[in-house]
Symmetry: C2
Subunit: 346 residues, 2 copies
């Protein structure tokens, strides 16, 4: 058997995922769904969906139809909503799959009606001006004959104390009265923390499920879901004046123990971590020095002097902290995770 032990492990904490979902669900009386698009924000949609389904989640949101098909054996297909709408050539496959489209344009509504329709969702744009039917596009008969399950809109600035939130809420509340739908959904993770006025019938958190903290009020209830372990491939003792890595950007100021570990930007640890990133050997923080390579990082291991070839260093996915180190958003830190690590759910 050519069976190898990958030198990079992505540990994923299923209990933390479920606990985060329960925390967000517990902020009010609305049902709580889950955004699992982009392969569960990079962590693995199938594993995420199975765990949240078992915890009681009944509404899963993806962006692409291929993402719906990839989880359609795990839950009844009508529990899956596809945010990015429909194209004409996909309609027969959509109807066969049975997941529910979020219609975003008058043209999509017309196509859906012409195809024979069935239950659908409708996205109204209340100010993000990104995807959804604009207020100027709502004609009197636009929704006639449409079987709308969920009427949705999306907040643009829920992570900030912006007046835009109240303006979007007022507009969505008005549409919720005027447009006939079984359910209304408005709030993402940060929107949930704006209070129950924002919850309507169904919330649909994403980043909070995966350990993201986009508003300070979430910090107490949200735990990290991921951490990376990378194997140390080499330990060397360098002299003062020795350079480390591409471009010789780091020069040792004194005799320095460096460890090289199996993690690089191809694994999602981008070069913007250089000079600011930290990994851990047991509980000792060790600075990442020099440029991040495609497959490797170099670490100043002088403070963790027992580190040896074959040991592991750890990178907990404290998303706000990693975001501050790298300048990447908490979201990007997850979605750029690479594909060649072992993914180990507990």
């Amino acid at each position: 058997m050519t069976d190898f032990d990958p030198p990079l492990r992505l540990h994923l904490d299923g209990n933390a995922l479920v606990s985060n979902w329960r925390f967000l669900q517990g902020q009010g009386g609305a049902a709580c769904g889950a955004a699992v698009k982009a392969n569960g924000y990079g962590l693995g949609a199938r594993e995420v969906v199975a765990r949240l389904r078992d915890a009681g989640c009944r509404d899963f949101f993806v962006a692409h139809w291929s993402e719906a098909a990839a989880i359609a054996d795990l839950v009844p297909p009508e529990w899956i909503s596809v945010l990015n709408g429909i194209q004409p050539f996909d309609i027969s496959s959509i109807q066969q799959l049975g997941a529910v489209p979020v219609l975003n344009t008058p043209n999509q509504i017309a196509m859906w009606k012409a195809s024979g329709g069935g239950a659908c969702h409708v996205m109204i744009d209340t100010g993000i001006n990104r995807l959804g039917i604009g207020p100027e596009q709502i004609a009197n008969d636009l929704f006639d004959g449409l079987d709308i399950d969920i009427l949705l809109s999306h907040l643009a600035s829920a992570d900030a104390d912006s007046e835009q939130n109240g303006r979007q809420l007022a507009m969505f509340s008005q549409f919720a009265k005027e447009i006939p739908a079984k359910r209304r959904s408005f709030a993402n993770s940060a929107g949930i923390m704006l209070g129950p006025d924002y919850h309507f019938d169904l919330t649909r958190p994403g980043i909070g499920l995966y350990g993201g903290v986009e508003r300070a009020e979430m910090a107490t209830g949200i735990s990290p879901v991921a951490h990376i372990a990378a194997r140390v491939l080499q330990v060397r003792h360098l002299n003062a004046g020795d350079a480390v890595g591409y471009g010789a950007t780091y020069i040792c100021e004194e005799p320095t123990i460096i460890a090289t570990a199996s993690m690089g930007y191809a694994d999602g640890y981008l070069r913007s971590f250089a000079g600011r990133g930290v990994v851990y050997a047991d509980d000792v923080a060790l600075p990442v020095i020099g440029r991040v390579s495609m497959d490797l990082i170099t670490i100043n291991a002088s403070a963790g002097s027992s580190l040896s070839e074959g040991d592991w260093v750890s990178l907990p996915f404290d998303l706000p902290e990693l975001s501050a180190q790298s300048g990447l958003s908490q979201y990007e830190l997850l979605t750029t995770l690479g594909q060649r690590s072992d993914r180990i759910w507990s």
Copy 2:
């Protein structure tokens, strides 16, 4: 059949890939290999290996053993070199696979000898101080009994006119005389352009194969290999004063046609493109406005006013230009490409 037409396509030009390899091969008389680690720099190792094999390439470099196993049916396994070395528990699988390890530490050399050995490669560190046997670790008998095919070292600053290049060359030339090996390999893409002194028996370009231009001398011979096409999901007419996207970071100064397309940071188009990125409708450049979302970008389409729902916009992977726009390295632009696009080789 639930068969969907993905709204994002990654077009890959096999002729450009082969042409880039031939350009790099043609810089001197040495054999020319190919770095195909990190899944062929994100483009698909299997497709890359098959094409370069057919063009005459005989040496393929990966980082992980799983990456070697993933291409081992395409070429004789001894054509595959695994840069990140060996761990004791992998040795029996390694010997069964037949790909050749690059030994990076005295400990790895001892393990390989103890296992019965066989052909191997050896990486010497001549100053990048990242991975490879350091000059201080070379004892008299270190290489005794070792069947070394390729003696390697790696340049730290080949993309710059740095004195470090000459220092590394002098050191490697000395080791090449002293350490018995069948072949010597030193130069990556940029190193090839430093001239034939740097080529030895075998070069091993990576980024240049995939359209990266890390030295100005490469610009004439290297062509882009990738371009993305993203489907337009919606076109709307906004008013002056309307905000676009998360955080309302873009405010329309005048009546503006916006198009929303199916590409986001989960697809590798990171948020650092916001305000600087450009996509094309036919040959008209359209600025990406507002924040990049996980699955979506918003575009000022006023200059491409015939753009309609269902059309495609194009993003050619001119890597130096995209690097300047985003602040990401040319390498990261490739390795962060997402997994949910159609990959279409021509």
